[in-house]
């Protein structure tokens, strides 16, 4: 497993490394968000093949952290490869397209998936409604998104990768949350807490289709 790379490695001048996965159904703009955030670029891209990997160092006040971003394919056929990479994740962006109700429901499914894989509170999850530039075709209201996010205690934001609206903000919010959690965790560890081995999700489930 790639977990070793995914865990935060605090101390000694090294920035924290956090692994972030972008999840959501096809063509909601996961790659566009990643591309906008990492390269400040926008182009209509074809469906992602498998997973794409990006890194970005973020300066947040005095501290800096490094994001390892896994942009996953929305297409079903690649879900299993991507699966490998969401195990060690510290944060997840659940992306939906505000002009597609279906993609909003799919994002909720992804959340269930995540919950099965992680302990509650182990991953920072943000629900992202993308494509605010197409708000005249909107099918999911801001309130709907927000309400759902709050009911599941997720971070929430609406973005537009095309117009570069709230993209950096979304990632920064995650970064802040991650740092806070990391600090809390360090405190705990200092106080003798030992919850580092708990990151293994339930394992049996992975075999369900090997009939």
């Amino acid at each position: 497993m790639a977990q070793a790379d995914g865990r935060p490695q605090p101390g000694a001048g090294q920035p924290h490394v956090f692994k972030l996965v972008l999840l959501g159904s096809g063509s909601v703009g996961k790659s566009s968000l990643a591309l906008r955030y990492v390269k400040n670029d926008f182009k209509s891209i074809l469906p992602t093949v498998g997973c794409a990997f990006f890194t970005k160092v973020v300066e947040l006040g005095a501290t800096s952290l490094k994001f390892e971003i896994w942009d996953t394919a929305g297409q079903e056929k690649y879900h299993s490869v991507c699966h490998l990479y969401f195990r060690g994740a510290n944060a997840a962006l659940l992306v939906y397209d505000i002009t597609s109700k279906d993609s909003f429901h799919k994002a909720q499914q992804w959340l269930k998936d995540l919950e099965r894989e992680f302990l509650p509170g182990e991953v920072v999850v943000m629900l992202v409604g993308n494509k605010t530039d197409l708000s005249e075709e909107r099918e999911v209201t801001f309130e709907e998104g927000k309400e759902f996010a709050e009911s599941q205690s997720l971070l929430f934001m609406e973005t537009s990768a095309r117009l570069n609206h709230q993209v950096t903000e979304a990632f920064s919010a995650i970064a802040r949350e991650l740092l806070q959690r990391a600090e809390r965790k360090e405190d705990q560890t200092r106080r003798g807490g030992a919850r580092l081995a708990l990151n293994q999700g339930p394992m049996g489930r992975a075999k369900c289709c090997a009939r």
Binding site: S31, L46, E76, K77, S80, R116
Partner: protein
């Protein structure tokens, strides 16, 4: 994804289907695609059983009225015919619009390619929406099963100016309906390439398993996102013939020392489970290195390499480092490799690392950095950049050269495939051709040239009466095609050239190719991580390998 198990899920009907999508991990369990497939021969034999079908009495094919005139003699030279329809086809917009068989625009397409399941469920259509085509596809299924019920296999129907070619591959049926001058054999090759493309994303085994479990499964769910790759593949036949027609890959012209240095570099940069490293620019090969232990016994098929080259040149790979399962259908249609794909240094240079370990991403990423550093040391990035800008076309994304470089006035374009390559390089059939310049810059002109090349190719390789040399005066150009034991050559010349002039041009061209051979072709494909005294199975290559590893 497992979300389907939830009864509140918006699409509960999908629950069962979703499980089918965990393909790669299942495949990974059995070695990630390096085993020879014992059932490999099945499809072959299936094809052969059909070989008699052409001779079927027309009455057997009666469900389709046109088939009563199975006119196999339709291979007449008629360049004008192809021009009439050229205009409409430059539009490559697929999917979405139209698709209704009564739609004039849809009907006017020169060539349709359909993929459907045995149950008649539409999977892919080059033009139009597949939903609107259920009835049409139903007719195709009926035709196939009708002939099948007589214990035979339908291969092709010749109807006036149309050719209908059928290809059954496991639970998939592929059909081409074409008005292009392509021969049935060429269309079959195209369908095989389409099938290979589908297998490369799903594997043959999972396709078979899916349909075994659920006959009316809608495979479009799993192919979502791959239609564009299929569209690109089919378009390439008309826009830039060569790869598929000649069954060969195109190399980036490069000096031999640099190419060999790059080959050595690839050979040196290894990672656990790495089976194949490929450097490519714009779908053309710079160099490739194979892991001997994995690929020595069953060599990499050029069709597989071509598939990989097409695949990595997709715009989807333009950003970040990608990690995706891919199956090499000729190598093992039932297993997945895992591919690391990245553009190096923001250049169009693309590195593909193919391994067997689904979790080796970080190893591959490390390997990539080694390759990148090595290329910087060699100054290869600059050189490759120069190679890419050697062309006349300002916006060339792929390195190419102008036909002017040959210095043979009257020569407009050519395809050259060497056949005299040393035996141990058979595994890498290559061809070279200059970029298409005026008058072949417009879509319809390219299509016309492609048609002409296809006609010549069909005649040279006709199963009944193969030819070695054709001199053909067409309306707007003169062509000369020539196959010898040393090469296969198609030249397109100015229409004013005389026969003697043409021979002069071709002589000049051959001399030029000979001179530039080392630059145009990979003469010594590298292998890596090979113990100097390799296993007995591949000693023939080991000796050469040791000699030619370059700088």
């Amino acid at each position: 994804m497992e979300a389907g198990g939830d009864p509140a899920a918006p699409a509960p009907g999908d629950a069962e289907d979703l499980e089918d999508t965990r393909l790669p991990s299942e495949e990974a369990g059995d070695g990630g695609g390096v085993q020879e497939d014992p059932t490999d021969s099945e499809d072959r034999s299936l094809e052969e059983t059909g070989s008699k079908t052409k001779d079927q009495p027309p009455s057997l094919l009666s469900p389709l009225p046109q088939s009563e005139s199975p006119s196999c003699t339709r291979e007449l030279w008629d360049p004008a015919a192809s021009e009439n329809n050229a205009m409409d086809d430059s539009e490559s917009g697929s999917g979405g619009q139209g698709g209704d068989p009564s739609d004039e625009d849809w009907r006017s397409k020169r060539k349709h390619v359909f993929v459907l399941s045995e149950a008649g469920k539409p999977i892919y259509s080059r033009y139009g929406s597949v939903e609107a085509l259920s009835t049409t596809m139903g007719v195709m299924t009926a035709l196939v099963s009708f002939v099948q019920s007589a214990g035979d296999t339908i291969r092709a129907i010749y109807a006036e100016d149309h050719k209908l070619v059928f290809l059954q591959q496991g639970p998939l049926l592929l059909v081409a309906v074409s008005r292009t001058p392509q021969s049935a054999a060429q269309l079959r090759e195209e369908l095989l390439a389409v099938h290979a493309q589908i297998v490369s994303t799903l594997t043959r085994a999972s396709v078979a398993r899916i349909f075994a479990r659920k006959q009316n499964y809608d495979l479009r769910r799993l192919l979502a996102g791959s239609e564009r790759t299929l569209d690109r593949l089919l378009d390439s036949v008309e826009r830039d013939p060569g790869a598929l027609l000649l069954g060969a890959v195109r190399c980036v012209p490069l000096t031999r020392p640099l190419r060999e240095a790059l080959g050595t570099l690839l050979r040196r940069c290894t990672a656990p489970g790495l089976a194949l490293s490929v450097l490519a620019v714009g779908g053309q090969l710079v160099t490739a290195a194979q892991e001997r232990n994995v690929l020595a016994e069953c060599r990499l098929d050029p069709a597989d390499l071509q598939l990989l080259l097409n695949w990595v040149s997709a715009p989807a790979f333009a950003a970040g480092e990608a990690w995706a399962p891919v199956c090499l259908p000729r190598f093992n249609p039932d297993g997945f490799f895992y591919a690391y794909v990245a553009r190096l240094d923001a250049m169009p240079v693309c590195l593909l690392l193919l391994g067997t370990d689904p979790e080796a991403f970080h190893d591959m990423a490390t390997c990539r950095r080694l390759v990148e550093d090595g290329m910087h040391t060699l100054g290869a990035m600059r050189n490759l950049g120069e190679a890419a800008s050697f062309s006349n076309a300002p916006s060339a994304t792929a390195p190419s050269y102008s036909v002017q470089a040959v210095g043979a006035p009257g020569l407009r374009h050519f395809l050259y495939k060497p056949l005299d390559i040393p035996d141990h390089h058979r595994q890498l059939p290559q061809f070279t051709s200059p970029e298409l310049e005026a008058p072949y810059s417009r879509e319809e002109e390219r299509q016309r040239l492609s048609d002409l090349y296809h006609r010549l190719h069909a005649r040279l390789h006709s199963s009944s009466r193969p030819l070695r040399l054709i001199y053909h005066v067409a309306e707007k150009e003169t062509l000369l095609a020539w196959v010898t034991s040393k090469f296969e050559l198609y030249t397109c010349l100015s229409p004013l050239v005389t026969k003697a002039g043409a021979i002069l041009v071709v002589t000049k061209l051959l001399r030029w190719v000979k001179k530039e051979e080392d630059r145009l072709f990979i003469r010594y494909p590298p292998k890596y991580s090979t113990p100097p005294a390799a296993s007995s199975a591949s000693t023939d290559q080991a000796s050469h390998n040791g000699l030619f590893t370059g700088s």
